[in-house]
Subunit: 438 residues, 4 copies
Amino acid sequence: MIPRYSRAEMVNIWSPETKFRIWFDIEAHACDAQADLGVIPRENAQAVWKAKDVEFDVARIDEIEAVTKHDVIAFLTHLAEIVGETEARFVHQGMTSSDVLDTTFNVQLVRAADILLADMDGLLAALKRRAYEHKMTVRIGRSHGIHAEPTTMGLTFARFYAEMERNKRRLEIARDEIATGAISGAVGTFANIDPAVEAHVCDKLGLAPEPISTQVIPRDRHAAFFAALGVVASSIENVATEIRHMQRTEVLEAEEFFSAGQKGSSAMPHKRNPVLTENLTGLARLVRMAVVPAMENVALWHERDISHSSVERNIGPDATITLDFALARLTSVIDKLVVYPDNMLANMNKFRGLVMSQRVLLALTQAGVSREDSYKLVQRNAMKVWEEGKDFKTELLADTDVLAALNPDEIEEKFDLGYHTKHVDTIFERVFGEKPPA
Amino acid sequence: MIPRYSRAEMVNIWSPETKFRIWFDIEAHACDAQADLGVIPRENAQAVWKAKDVEFDVARIDEIEAVTKHDVIAFLTHLAEIVGETEARFVHQGMTSSDVLDTTFNVQLVRAADILLADMDGLLAALKRRAYEHKMTVRIGRSHGIHAEPTTMGLTFARFYAEMERNKRRLEIARDEIATGAISGAVGTFANIDPAVEAHVCDKLGLAPEPISTQVIPRDRHAAFFAALGVVASSIENVATEIRHMQRTEVLEAEEFFSAGQKGSSAMPHKRNPVLTENLTGLARLVRMAVVPAMENVALWHERDISHSSVERNIGPDATITLDFALARLTSVIDKLVVYPDNMLANMNKFRGLVMSQRVLLALTQAGVSREDSYKLVQRNAMKVWEEGKDFKTELLADTDVLAALNPDEIEEKFDLGYHTKHVDTIFERVFGEKPPA
Amino acid sequence: MIPRYSRAEMVNIWSPETKFRIWFDIEAHACDAQADLGVIPRENAQAVWKAKDVEFDVARIDEIEAVTKHDVIAFLTHLAEIVGETEARFVHQGMTSSDVLDTTFNVQLVRAADILLADMDGLLAALKRRAYEHKMTVRIGRSHGIHAEPTTMGLTFARFYAEMERNKRRLEIARDEIATGAISGAVGTFANIDPAVEAHVCDKLGLAPEPISTQVIPRDRHAAFFAALGVVASSIENVATEIRHMQRTEVLEAEEFFSAGQKGSSAMPHKRNPVLTENLTGLARLVRMAVVPAMENVALWHERDISHSSVERNIGPDATITLDFALARLTSVIDKLVVYPDNMLANMNKFRGLVMSQRVLLALTQAGVSREDSYKLVQRNAMKVWEEGKDFKTELLADTDVLAALNPDEIEEKFDLGYHTKHVDTIFERVFGEKPPA
Amino acid sequence: MIPRYSRAEMVNIWSPETKFRIWFDIEAHACDAQADLGVIPRENAQAVWKAKDVEFDVARIDEIEAVTKHDVIAFLTHLAEIVGETEARFVHQGMTSSDVLDTTFNVQLVRAADILLADMDGLLAALKRRAYEHKMTVRIGRSHGIHAEPTTMGLTFARFYAEMERNKRRLEIARDEIATGAISGAVGTFANIDPAVEAHVCDKLGLAPEPISTQVIPRDRHAAFFAALGVVASSIENVATEIRHMQRTEVLEAEEFFSAGQKGSSAMPHKRNPVLTENLTGLARLVRMAVVPAMENVALWHERDISHSSVERNIGPDATITLDFALARLTSVIDKLVVYPDNMLANMNKFRGLVMSQRVLLALTQAGVSREDSYKLVQRNAMKVWEEGKDFKTELLADTDVLAALNPDEIEEKFDLGYHTKHVDTIFERVFGEKPPA
């Protein structure tokens, strides 16, 4: 939640001003519902709305809280200063502080989720654009950090798109998880307040009434919410790790955008460090660290204890602000990523055709050579490339045992890149749901 | 994954026998699809099914693996021993080990999820039964471990029901998350194998094809899966904590079932310890500890590295087996929980009516006393109860300032328990979706 | 790191002002050492000290950083504005930003550790005082939340003392872990700067030179540091949990101090909630959540990547500020804890002597009854107490089988509380290292 | 704790046989002490030792436990079967099950720590050997994955050595943390057993008596123990990550040893994957995941609850067995690591001298050019290398502005590798405490 990694819109959700405004909305709507029920006079309910456009004096509320040591009472006292003590005397009637605090927290989390969902849309758009841009930009696929077979940069972007689309769905579910409110009284029995009040307030705030609450909304919802953020963060780390690898000196298949005035290092001017994606790696850890405490918060004593509160005062803002910042930063990185197709080709050819060994192996098998023998034929030629710097295709064309199974044209064909990209359009269709132009 | 906390059905999912059977299914179905495509001869595809009902020799496969140091090759070698080397020579053609391993892992997780879902149904049934049984069994609600207002034991069971129903939904989503398969080759391009093979195999195994894979299925899916287990475990801890509190000597509102022959302690025969729910508290930690490593597994290098594998070999079985055991144990605890309604009433009356102070406060406010003054009136009588052991109602009836606002009948009415239970049916309807009999 | 849970002294360690002051100290001392070596002119080294008592303009540095996008360069530019561009031109020569940043971070952590150690001394003093105060205040010991045998409140305080003394030792070790500095250049080879500079700067800052660094100080040190904080936090949770249990309505053996003006709840004036210890439970989770990211920070790429930085910018201040606050809060809670010895006795007698069953069991065994038979004798009388509300001693005195083994005086003696407290002094001596007065 | 990642010696520590043997030792030594005190007859104490060399029948004990549902009673019953019921009737007198269980657990952890310490010695020896072997093998140092300045492979090994030496110290401290035993009775008051028994048993088992215990040994000790394992694991990940990077195709500065018969992949015979270090990365996560639950175990209710037990039954064996395996595997990897000095040189020269830019920058500054101007001079030549493939030294020698400050010899000298290795011996001396031969 440090300013360095924060954006204003998300930070504002967690400001005292926003919090008090939501408190007010809950109290005022509750008064309306109480008036509808005939529990309190209509004019008192109406009077509360006098504070609708008044800016609350946060310092004044803090001052009162310093005396009363109770935040909701402090707010209500300040509200009465605005509305008038007599007019305000029915405010909060039948309610418990937690009715206000818990419902407010969920409103904040819902709004945070909405920002994160918008962030995600931005990221998806950037990934999709770059995916199509580099749909056929061939690069080497790697397993274990070792060259395997060709793939394309577009497929890399496309798989991040698919992963983030799943994350968008997870965020939507997470939003649903915490889009509930509760105004059910001290232990959740509605003893002092009619369920109709809860229904009215929730309706106005865009929440569903919590089917059964205690003094608080059950914390399994929040655990699921923060767990979802943790998964999203882990995916951010995944994308960041890919880019960090691509930018390392020996690979250099892509670079984070490097503005003209920016200095990479005080000492080594040629260095262009992937600091944004390294930073994202760290931010992912920060978001993720909220998951376990959120889960530890679930087991409250009886109808509630307040151990969860200090945790949520921190992870509520911290995890959402950090994730918002990280999604925005990643979107910018993807958007501006400098891709080097030539280096991709150069890297792929580093071992002079060796990456085609799988195809050759398969061809030999299909030509009737046993799998064990095929393996040995491929291996002995591959080792010459690996150890003596030979060219794989040349070696194969000179290996009489190989030639006994495959003719030179067949061998040549195994080195055609088109073989590896022939299903890219199919995959794109699966990911983006769009058929390529005929 | 120690036997003490394991149940056979779930353990079997993770046995070598089950694993090899799934491997076989994948390979055999893949051969069929390859034959459909004309890539391999039909008779070779058919020959593979000779192994359909043959029990694989795990020791033999281990023996081969000790030499080849590659588990899939070891299995394929053994399969060839059964099917015949010539007949088996097209098995696995165009595939990568991970096609088999990753798809298998997901099949196992899906089956595990199915067991967990069945477990959850059992738990929900037990909770619902006990909820209705104790719908109107009054007990004191507590916040901060301190008496607040009356609630009912049925509401306690009902809120656990609602929480577990949410968890069921989370498990269903988690199941969907990992119900995918991939047969897409070394880097996910389908270069050596047609997407139709993947489609056929997935269809046969009850999976959806992974829209875009690399050498592996993306691990954000698994992170989401284990995160869901972690939330469920946290809810188990929540229920367990409630029961542990109810059983403590000074509370004694309920006890875990205590069989006649069971000894609580070698030294203190009167002790009946809530060891099952304490155990569940620990098991919850065990399930939860899988969450972070599962999230750390997401960021694989390029098209895959194998760092996730050792993690999953452990947390795959451990987290599902432990959660299965915990759900079953909790179901049994709930089912047999000995509830003591008399003790509940005795506890509630410990402070001689003080728990009704909220009602009195509200009544005073409604009678026109200012909130501050009402608070003071209630507080001064409450303190006599607290500090001098007086009876709250008696004190109120003797307080002229109180009597100035409320008449004795009104005061009496504040101590009626029916006031607190009047919305229990409404809440039950919200939770169980059933109207109470008219 | 929210103000609510912060104390000024610890917050100040993490202010920009403190950071820049440490940066300055490092740069200025480094210049001295460079002058000693003859690498830079003495007068330039001396000139830097002109900024010794000048307050750095944080806003100005931020302004420069907004342009250069490099914090150390921004600071150096500002420093040159104070010292004079010409005079300052040798500042930072041969150094890398990380030499400054990493050494500074460790200085901050060392100072934070010093505050935590002082906090711990305060807590230990409070625990010791309360331990001696209640050395012989008998209360029931409980296992599984169930009454076991008598112990004393002093022993409870004493064991927390012993635990916190271990934590003090852990904090001392943690302080040592991070009391190192490094000025070793871009990759730790001292290529551009003599090791003597590092030695001089570290000496002045109270650090040991890191024996071998890269661009950064190795992060296993920081992982160990934050892990130690996590253990301390867990012990705080342990103490907090004990107090929360003691304060719950049915137990009420102690209460957090409750100031006259404080309102426990807006609705239930009689409630005195253990909100401080509940809060400490949550704060413990917050401190603990730094442990895993600190461990994830250890594996940096090659000679460093910067993924750790964003993590540390958060957990550095957050974990130390929160732990400082928590230790101070716990000290205050212990210091002022209201202990109710009468309630302790009342609770102990709840089951009319049953807690002495272990002694009776042992006496029967020693009198020659087999363990199995003794167990049965005790059990059958215990069950009458448990189920029928009888008095244990009375029942034993009426059981002829028991009387066959023990005479009435022997039975009476088993109910003497002195039996349970006879080794309290011995234990106190082990814990506090002091013999009781003769 | 799966066999794949286990070694026999560590596994044996956690076998039922070992556990029962330790139980026996505790009971038998306790009997001796009780006889010394005159509490039980000497002959009964001596009789117990009849079981000294008898192998306990684990199946029989399990059978009894199935009836009694109490493991210690089951063991004692079996012991009586061996020793004779009459002779054995004083065994366990005055003790509580936890006296046996907790002390045993600590004995197991101490033994585990001893193995881990021996493992660490092996790892340190391998690292030291390789460090000296490659003390002057120059490679490029990298920050952010980007080339920085030259360093040596020996320094890389040396810093891992220093890190692991710190870890050894942490393991030693961790061993001390849990090298305590407790025989203090049901709630730790020694009411039924003299402290002398504890003293005697602990002495015989190589433990210190726990200064103050409850029914159990305080769990902050175990939290600290597992936290230390987590730090060690994180360092293993650190070393593993370095090797994985070195082995990636584009870098190829080292490879894990690749045995002749081993197949890297079923499809790509040329691939040599760093599977051991990838595996170590995953194993590190597994060890680390024990840390948080171990910390959650600290806060037990009152004098004990048993929530920690199921956690420890898992993480006790799992974390120690996994870490033992990981340390051994890492030792083997280090021992046999194939290092490619030629590739190191080739990589370093990839950018034609650019890595020397820091030296040139410094030289320009020292020659009187302002820092800003020096930076610009270096930058403009560096960009030609970066963007146009020029050679850095050649460009500098052709830059008249550079030549105005530095003569050609001075420029040449900046490209001397000896400049970067001149302090390697100093650092080795700091790490290994040995002066290089004169």
